[in-house]
Amino acid sequence: MVEMSIIYAACVAGAIGLLFLLPRGDRRWAPIGAVLGGGALGAGLLALSRGQAAGGGVDVFFYVLAFLAVGAAVRMITHPRPVYAALYFILVVLAVAGLFVQLAAEFMAFALIIVYAGAILITYLFVIMLAQEAPDDRHPDALTDYDATAREPVAATIVGFVLLAALLGMMYRGTSQMPAHAATHRPADAELAMLTGKVEAALRKADLIRPEETIREVDAETRTALVASPSGDGVRTVTLPVDLRVSNVDAVGVSLLSEFPVSLEVAGVILMLAMLGAVVLARKERLDAPRESQSLIGKAPHDSQTLIVGVGASAEGGAS
């Protein structure tokens, strides 16, 4: 179904293109690299879409967002200026978030934008601006040496694309043996059984139950709810409204709290420790601190870093 030879050829072309695009002394070969890389990506996606006619494929948004993501990613690793690289990374994040929406993961799409594009990337930008010498009037194009040139680009590219070819080869080998559609034994909206509050609110909104009645049990399979009155004499079954669906946020929340509560707690502890660690690591030594620890840390070139990094770290923690 997939022409592996096209994939491999695309890998080679992509490798050569990326090699030309990586930062170096002269930029003459960069357009050729861009063309090669874009062609390689197009060839790869073309190879994929040859089976499109069979149905169950992807729509055009995928191709647009994929081009956007890959292009931004390539530009991110090839742009010599760190600030631009960070901005391109935001673009990648946005494209990926769009793909998440395509995959019906709306909550994660927005979480990604908030956490990555919002919190993490802002922190990166702060650090970049603190540590990087900004171009001034005398040196409008002041690039540090380590930003202007790539390190061992040939070896890294070869290894990277060999890895890519191997990964893709394995991947298609694996997925070609899978059934076209995974069997899902789970009924749709199964989470409704646990979301009695949501069901009750919907039923009240639709005036399907009386004010004094409460929901005792929800059957997701038959889409009915067992409603009991406080007097205890009447128990009746109510059919749920058709527009009552489980949203993505509902599903993730139920799964998170019902299936992975311990992991959730551990994640919280990790975040707190990371915050503490960041504060301890980036803390500037006080002047009245003992001399030996002062000498361990060394001299601080800037005075305001500590505060800002500390704020950034705690901002992340709060955002996540």
Binding site: A111, A150, A180, R186, V252, S255, F260, A267, S320
Partner: protein, 106 residues
């Protein structure tokens, strides 16, 4: 929820994921700026996130997304610590060149 993702569509997402991962990895290997190296690791996280979500969609459940929450957690923690380390290194020696920090050589 929409219909579960077909294998053909899954292949698309996985290819994209692999490409992004390798690009991030190549960036990590070739760029010498410490901050950009960490940015590249974030890119690799994105690639992993795409694979997670795509697999979750393929199997028709939300565990892939739940897993991504934990990935985001780790990514946030890693970013905080890594940037703190970068700041600390930069205080010792005012450069962001990863080549300058090679005391661990044999």
């Amino acid at each position: 929820m929409t219909d579960a993702l077909s294998v053909l569509a899954l292949n698309h997402y996985l290819l994209l994921s692999a490409v992004l991962f390798v690009i991030g990895f190549i960036g990590f290997l070739t760029r010498r700026n410490l901050i950009i190296m960490f940015l590249c690791t974030e890119l690799m996280f994105q690639a992993a996130a795409i694979a997670m979500i795509a697999f979750g969609a393929h199997h028709g459940n939300v565990q892939g997304q739940v897993f991504l929450i934990f990935i985001l957690t780790i990514a946030a923690a890693e970013a905080a610590l890594a940037l703190a380390l970068v700041v600390m290194l930069y205080r010792r020696r005012p450069t962001l060149d990863a080549e300058k920090w090679s005391e661990l050589k044999g």
